[in-house]
Every structure is written in structure tokens, then in C-alpha cells.
């Protein structure tokens, strides 16, 4: 277990396949990132977020032998997180009323206001508040690609691996998601 910080995820996973002690390192590396991603995707309560996160790591451990090193480990663990979050939605546990995202949770999405097709003059603080409302109103299939593309900063190929969809489909979804974001944002902008 010496000097694991210099080891790549792939190397840690190879070691983990034979030695469970390395699993703690995977948790340390991904807990914060995945927790933020879960919040962005579903706005759960703290308790629910911890439940999802625990389920994610247990699924990672259970299925570690299915991981193929041709794919990035990051995409693979995000795929599991995505699936666990979706199954959390399906169980109907999502509580819209009591939850709010913090500023960091939406960082990246407010850039969409400045894109060519959405030239809205808006204060940064307001942009974040509106962005949370817009995201919440969006169709989940559009929200998930927007979160992955604009907030998590993934490429189309990585999103394709996470969502298990062809790259061309991801491209179409991102384009429609931006359009949907634009339409809902305009509605909020006109109201205020």
C-alpha cells in the first residue's frame, strides 16, 4: 500500500481485484465527485445522497471484475452512479420541495446563459438561482446530458460510455438539451 497516490485508477483497480484493502482508496478518490454528481442529477436530501453513494460503492465493489480497462475507470464509475441515481428516481424518493443545491453544485451550467443562442444579460448570482430552477424543470434525459457536458466537463465519447448510448445520439441529446434549457430560461427571465 506504499505510495498509492502516484498510481492511476487502472492500477488501483488491478490491485483491488486481488486485494480488498485498495477499495478504500477508490472511495477516497471518488466520494466527493460522485456526491456532487448525485446532487446535480437528482437533488436528494443528505440522507438519500449518502444512501445512493453507499449503493454506488457497493455496486462498484461487487462488479469490479466487469470493469474493462479499455474504458476509463472514471466513466465506468459514473455509469454506475448514473444508474443508481436513476433507480433512486424510479423509487419515487425525489423530494422537490425541501432541497436546494448550493452554488458549487451548479457551477458550469450558468455559462449556458452566455452562449450564442441564449444571449441573456443576467447577474451571476441570479444566473445560478435560475439555473437550479431550470435544471429542475427539465426533462431528466436532457438534464443528465447537460450535467455531464457542461457541469462535469465530459466529452461526447465519455458521455456515450456513461449513458451507454451511441456518440451520435449523445450529440443530438446535448443539442436538444441546450434548446430546452434556453426555452425554460427565457420563461423565467421574462417572468422576472
Amino acid at each position: 500500500m506504499n505510495d498509492v497516490s502516484s498510481k492511476t485508477d487502472q492500477e488501483i483497480v488491478s490491485l483491488l481485484k486481488t486485494d480488498d484493502a485498495y477499495f478504500g482508496i477508490i472511495i477516497d478518490r471518488y466520494e466527493a465527485k460522485l456526491s456532487r454528481y448525485i446532487s446535480r442529477m437528482s437533488k436528494p436530501s443528505n440522507e438519500d445522497r449518502e444512501d445512493i453513494l453507499q449503493n454506488v460503492f457497493l455496486a462498484v465493489y461487487k462488479n469490479i471484475n466487469s470493469y474493462n480497462s479499455e474504458m476509463s475507470f472514471n466513466s465506468w464509475i459514473y455509469r454506475i452512479t448514473h444508474n443508481e441515481t436513476i433507480s433512486y428516481w424510479r423509487k419515487g424518493k425525489r423530494d422537490k420541495e425541501n432541497i436546494s443545491m448550493n452554488d458549487e453544485d451548479v457551477s458550469g451550467i450558468e455559462d449556458l446563459f452566455g452562449e450564442n443562442n441564449l444571449d441573456i444579460d443576467i447577474e451571476e448570482k441570479d444566473a445560478k438561482i435560475i439555473a437550479v430552477k431550470v435544471l429542475d424543470e427539465m426533462d431528466p434525459k436532457y438534464r443528465e446530458v447537460l450535467v455531464l457536458k457542461n457541469m462535469e466537463g465530459y466529452s461526447y465519447e465519455e458521455i456515450s460510455d456513461i449513458l451507454k448510448k451511441p456518440v451520435s445520439t449523445v450529440g443530438t441529446l446535448v443539442s436538444r438539451a441546450k434548446k430546452s434549457f434556453e426555452n425554460i430560461s427565457r420563461k423565467y427571465y421574462e417572468q422576472n
Binding site: K17, E31, Y61, N65, S66, N68, K165, P166, V167, T169
Partner: protein, 192 residues
């Protein structure tokens, strides 16, 4: 160590969660690949039998009746059972392909087109080699419901053919007097 990490590691340590064997994932992937192959091959049997029904089985007089109208001939004698069979197995093949490890990367339409094309090519080879004809006869002998279905279809065809003949005898399609100069029928004279 935080609570989530501690809980996960405890569950693993207490043996509540175990790693799934790599063999499970490998065999699952092969299972879907083999099922895809089997679906395509069964689809090709369907297509080759369709060719037998279209080009070998029809009565000569039927072919003569419709010799000028291939579309009508196809509608009357199309082997719908085998066409549906081909479509069903194409969809099963597509589903299995999508469940293979990298199947999601391929475009859905492309997978379906390639699957149908393989079935068509393989089916044509079976037809050209005479294997399809033999298989159809064997199937009639071995599977009674199939024989009954095909017999019923032949009865419908004969019935349809008789109706067409009656219609033609009624004068709608009766050939008129041929003009020897241009070999075209002379227009009928309305004697009323």
C-alpha cells in the same frame, strides 16, 4: 475515516457483499453475442424459406396470371409468416447485440440494417444451394401446425386466384381486338 467509508468497508469485511466472479461477466457477454448470431442465422432461415415460398412453391398458372403485375403477385403470395419471423429475430438480434459489452456504441438503425443484410445474404445462399427448399419440406413433414398454416395459405391463394379469374371473365380485363398495325388493343365501342 468518514461514516460512509466505514459502513461500506464494514459490510465488505463482514462478507455481506462479495465480488462477482469474472467468469460471470465473460459468459454473460458471450451469451448475448451467441444469441445475436443465432438470431441472425434463424432470420436467414426465415428469409430463405420466404424465397422458397415466392419462387419455388407457387403454381405455374398463378405465376402466369400475374406475370405482368409483380406487385399484385407479391401481395397474394408473400410468405407473411416468414417475413414476420425474420423481423422478430432481427429485433431479438438487435436486443442481444445492444447488451454486449460494446454494443451500445453502435447506431441502432445500423445494427438492424446489418443484421437484416446478413440474414438476407445468408438466406440467399441457403436458397441458391437448395438447402432452403429441403428445409421447408422437412419442416412441413415434422411440424404439423406449420404444414396446416401453409396449406391454409395455399387455399387462400387459390380462392383469391379464382376471384381474379372470375373478375377477368366478367369483362374488366378481357383483351380487346388487337390492332395489327401497332399490336395494341382497339378501344371498346359503347353500343348503348
Amino acid at each position: 475515516m468518514n461514516k460512509i467509508k466505514q459502513d461500506i468497508l464494514n459490510k465488505i469485511k463482514e462478507g455481506e457483499i462479495k465480488k462477482t466472479s469474472p467468469w460471470y461477466f465473460t459468459s454473460k457477454d458471450y451469451f448475448f453475442k451467441i444469441l445475436f448470431g443465432v438470431s441472425v442465422v434463424i432470420g436467414s432461415f426465415g428469409f430463405s424459406s420466404a424465397l422458397v415460398q415466392l419462387f419455388v412453391k407457387p403454381d405455374d398458372h398463378m405465376r402466369m396470371e400475374f406475370s405482368k403485375d409483380w406487385f399484385e403477385y407479391f401481395l397474394v403470395s408473400a410468405p407473411y409468416l416468414w417475413i414476420v419471423f425474420l423481423l422478430i429475430f432481427t429485433l431479438i438480434g438487435w436486443f442481444n447485440f445492444k447488451n454486449t459489452e460494446n454494443g451500445y456504441k453502435k447506431n441502432n438503425l445500423l445494427v438492424i440494417i446489418i443484421s437484416v443484410l446478413i440474414s438476407v445474404v445468408l438466406g440467399s445462399v441457403l436458397f441458391a444451394s437448395g438447402a432452403a427448399h429441403k428445409m421447408d419440406s422437412e419442416l412441413r413433414g415434422m411440424v404439423k401446425p406449420y404444414k396446416n398454416f401453409q396449406d391454409r395459405r395455399m387455399d387462400h391463394r387459390k380462392e383469391f386466384l379464382n376471384k381474379v379469374k372470375e373478375r377477368r371473365r366478367g369483362g374488366f380485363d378481357r383483351p380487346g381486338i388487337i390492332n395489327p398495325e401497332n399490336q395494341r388493343p382497339l378501344p371498346e365501342i359503347d353500343i348503348n
